[in-house]
């Protein structure tokens, strides 16, 4: 089957979810939509089970941190429809201090470790996850290292400041 055009895909999503899903853009042809955590499982279920879309393959779950935003922690899902060879990216943003989102393990077993990794690196709490604990870092670590407030470089170091390079 041929690839579903982004307009048609979007039409189908907005028929079902109307105002709850907003389009962020389509960078390099990959449709990117944003939704809230209340709808995320409904949206994923719809995308996975709809007979015309069939986004049966969960490519990836990961996070992004934008400290200056009102809702700084983003959870990014990449789905792939193997029958139509269409991809979609879904973003959910969470407020700091309320980083709860329902787990996608109810739909895909493979979401288990992806969500553990996102928890480990960003501190996103996936509600209903069967085994939410750190995966790459040690268990007694207190920080979530991929957040921007944990710099890699020594913050006291001055010789790498952009100022010295005219930036």
């Amino acid at each position: 089957m041929a690839q579903i055009p982004n307009e048609e895909l979007l039409k189908r999503i907005s028929e079902k979810f109307d105002q709850q899903v907003t389009v962020v853009g389509e960078p390099y042809g990959l449709l990117t939509v944003e939704t809230g955590r209340e709808q995320i499982i409904d949206l994923l279920t719809f995308l996975k089970t709809d007979p015309a879309l069939k986004f049966i393959f969960l490519t990836d779950i990961t996070g992004v941190h934008y400290p200056e935003q009102e809702k700084p922690i983003g959870v990014i899902y990449h789905l792939h429809s193997l029958t139509t060879n269409t991809r979609i990216r879904i973003k959910v943003f969470l407020a700091d201090g309320d980083v709860h989102i329902p787990t996608a393990t109810v739909l895909w077993d493979g979401a288990n470790w992806m969500e553990r990794e996102t928890y480990d690196l960003f501190g996103v709490l996936f509600d209903g996850h069967p085994d939410l604990r750190r995966i790459l870092n040690v268990d007694d670590m207190t920080a979530f290292p991929m957040r921007k407030e944990f710099p890699l470089e020594d913050p006291n170091r001055v010789d790498k400041k952009d100022y010295f390079f005219g930036r």
């Binding site: 960078p27 390099y28 990959l30 990117t32 049966i56 393959f57 969960l58 490519t59 990836d60 990961t62 992004v64 941190h65 990014i76 990449h78 193997l82 060879n85 991809r87 990216r89 895909w108 077993d109 493979g110 979401a111 288990n112 470790w113 992806m114 990794e117 690196l121 085994d131 604990r133 750190r134 995966i135 790459l136 870092n137 040690v138 268990d139 290292p145 991929m146 890699l152 470089e153 390079f165 930036r167």
Partner: protein, 403 residues
């Protein structure tokens, strides 16, 4: 350790023994810990712990310009590092909108297929070792060595190659490299044929691998498996065929698909993939003859890191070299996902860029990480010796697992 399941049955007759398979164990080919509960030789339950060589590549990448991320990608799947390199550079090219010349695409295809062959050589050879046959491993190893010699001729290093640049290669392939490549294409099929006749119908090997760790297509898809593992389970998904990159659409090749999803069909799928890779390389060499021989990178001086000789002798090259290394050249403020078919499956790069000198966020979708999570659940009810074979057929590379 408090999260590990504790066996609570107090009956001494049915007492289970706990076995720490790993973190370092000769049969695990890397740093993997699996705490297994054994009833005799049968695995009752298991828990995988990973992260022993976690090096925080994603965090380091946020502090480095694009070029300095190349050595990080090398160390993901170090058995086929050029694929990781090329995947990363293609992601950056997609981000910057760089169109590479056809000759670069074909050279990349050659290098990536060589890398795939070398990875499969290791995997299938080691699978033989784990079933007790050292000969096949020894025969195949010689040819991995000749692949490394081809790399050496092109870029000077063997394992972690740093072979790619944004827009192409650091230097052109010399005639010795092509001669070695042709010698490899002549010699390797002979060995591969011998290897297949040694194993494919070997009674011991087939008995040890057939119907071991069989996975259905539904389970494999649910666990987001990709690569030879998914194809062995019967799903015809190959990134090269479905989303062609680097002019894979110009080549005529088949995607081998298994039926059983067991260790034996993974072995067969990998073997068949090596034949297909050889076929692709042969075609690429024919196509290369029609291309001008002196092109090995796209004409993008503001992004292509010039070779050192030019930096020393050419003012423009020196300026661009400085600007690239210092991250002075503006990049678009957007995000991109690009995936290539790594030796283990879909190797994806999710790059969020904010126009700065380094990525705002870089995420590697590492096939080994995603494939390995099923290891403990699928080991349940398996014999310990089968679990060992299962692990070598998954071909999990510790560097890619942990990133």
């Amino acid at each position: 350790m408090q999260n590990h399941p504790v066996y609570t049955d107090n009956d001494p007759q049915s007492e289970l023994s706990t076995l720490n398979l790993g973190p370092t164990h000769p049969a695990t080919h890397g740093v993997f810990q699996n705490v297994l509960q054994l009833d005799g030789e049968r695995i009752v339950s298991g828990v995988s712990t990973i992260g022993y060589i976690h090096r925080a590549f994603e965090k380091i990448a946020e502090h480095r310009p694009f070029y300095q991320i190349t050595p990080l990608t090398d160390r993901l799947n170090y058995c086929s590092s050029p694929i990781n390199n090329m995947g990363w550079h293609m992601t950056v090219e997609k981000l910057l909108g760089i169109q590479t010349p056809k000759r670069v695409d074909y050279l990349r295809v050659i290098i990536m297929e060589l890398a795939r062959i070398s990875d499969h050589i290791i995997c299938n050879g080691v699978l033989g070792v784990d079933t007790g046959a050292f000969t096949g491993f020894l025969y195949m190893m010689e040819h991995r060595e000749s692949i490394y010699e081809i790399y050496e001729e092109i870029c000077g290093s063997r394992l972690t190659t740093n072979i790619g640049r944004i827009g192409g290669f650091e230097r052109n392939f010399n005639t010795i490299a092509f001669a070695k490549l042709r010698a490899f294409l002549k010699n390797f099929p002979v060995t591969l044929k011998e290897f297949e006749s040694l194993f494919n119908r070997n009674r011991i090997f087939v008995d040890r691998t057939k119907d071991v760790a069989a996975v259905t297509a539904e389970t494999a898809l649910s666990y987001s498996w990709t690569g030879p593992l998914l194809r062995a389970a019967g799903v015809d998904y190959d990134v090269r065929a479905m989303n062609p990159y680097s002019s894979y659409e110009d080549f005529d090749f088949e995607v081998p698909v298994g039926t059983n999803g067991d260790v034996y069909s993974r072995f067969l799928v990998r073997n068949e993939e090596m034949w297909q890779s050889l076929r692709i390389i042969e075609q690429a060499l024919v196509k290369l003859e029609k291309e001008p021989t002196d092109i090995f990178h796209a004409d993008v001086p503001e992004f292509y890191l010039p070779p050192k000789e030019e930096v020393y002798n050419n003012m423009e090259a020196l300026i661009y070299h400085f600007k690239i290394v210092m991250g002075e050249i503006p990049t678009p403020n957007t995000e991109v996902y690009h995936s290539v078919e790594g030796a283990n499956g879909e190797l994806g790069f999710y790059l969020v860029n904010d126009g700065g000198r380094s990525p705002y966020r870089l995420h590697f979708r590492r096939p080994s990480f995603i494939n390995y999570q099923m290891y403990a659940p699928m080991s349940r009810g398996m014999l310990l010796s089968d679990a060992i074979i299962n692990m070598s057929s998954l071909n999990v590379i510790a560097g890619e697992l942990d990133a």
